[in-house]
């Protein structure tokens, strides 16, 4: 298991290649990547704040929970904080499993929990001002499918 919270960029392809290469007997690798979208008014910066100490614990706990729920090989989570710009990669998760159903389910589970239960907050700074991104009801609702 590999959980990283960092302000520097990461290389999605290089991370995924390394992740895939260190698997043994895993037939399926799934990845998800979140990318900063350029919102309508023109995004200047997306500031991502987090809770040092708790963030790593929360991501580790969510990853461990995924490993108890599905037959997985490994889990990788990388999440950036700090000042990001349009088209920057915000985060990635990768999962490996003997079978694709487990790799997909675990990746979706990780994303659903990470969206609403990991202590990150996004602020969008545009020419016209700055706004904290509001949590979406649909993200909260998405968690209910894992009960």
């Amino acid at each position: 298991m590999d959980v990283r919270v960092q302000d520097v960029e990461f290389d999605l392809g290089a991370e995924l290649n390394r992740f895939a290469a260190r698997q043994t007997g895993m037939g399926a690798v799934v990845s998800f990547t979140g990318i900063v979208r350029d919102i309508a008014e023109g995004l200047d910066v997306m500031q991502i704040e987090h809770y040092p100490g708790m963030t790593e614990k929360a991501l580790t706990k969510i990853s461990q929970e995924a490993k108890t729920r599905w037959s997985l090989g490994d889990v990788l989570v990388i999440h950036r904080h700090g000042a990001l710009r349009a088209d920057d990669l915000i985060m990635m998760v990768a999962t490996s499993a003997p079978h694709r159903v487990d790799a997909f389910a675990a990746a979706e589970f990780l994303m659903d929990y990470l969206k609403s239960r990991a202590p990150f907050w996004k602020k969008e700074v545009t020419k016209s001002g700055e706004d904290w991104v509001a949590a979406k009801d649909e993200d909260e609702d998405a968690l209910t499918r894992w009960n």
Binding site: G34, M91, L114, F120, W121, W132
Partner: protein, 81 residues
Amino acid sequence: MDVLYFAWVRERIGQPKDTLDTGAATVRELVQELRAREPRYEAAFADLDALRVAVDQELADFDTPLSGVREVAFFPPMTGG
């Protein structure tokens, strides 16, 4: 006890952290104590439904007891990913 603030809670209060001695038995009592301090705290804690809380770096609720707790954090709903 360390009390941490994140995102707009931090901005409204104007600082990321308070260190205080409190007799509050629960998170809810701590919130009442903080609200009584100054208008900026009152503004930050006006709507508890808009807030989330972590106790010793674990998500918790407003009825969580504070006995033996070292760190409490207040913040809006999280928006990771």
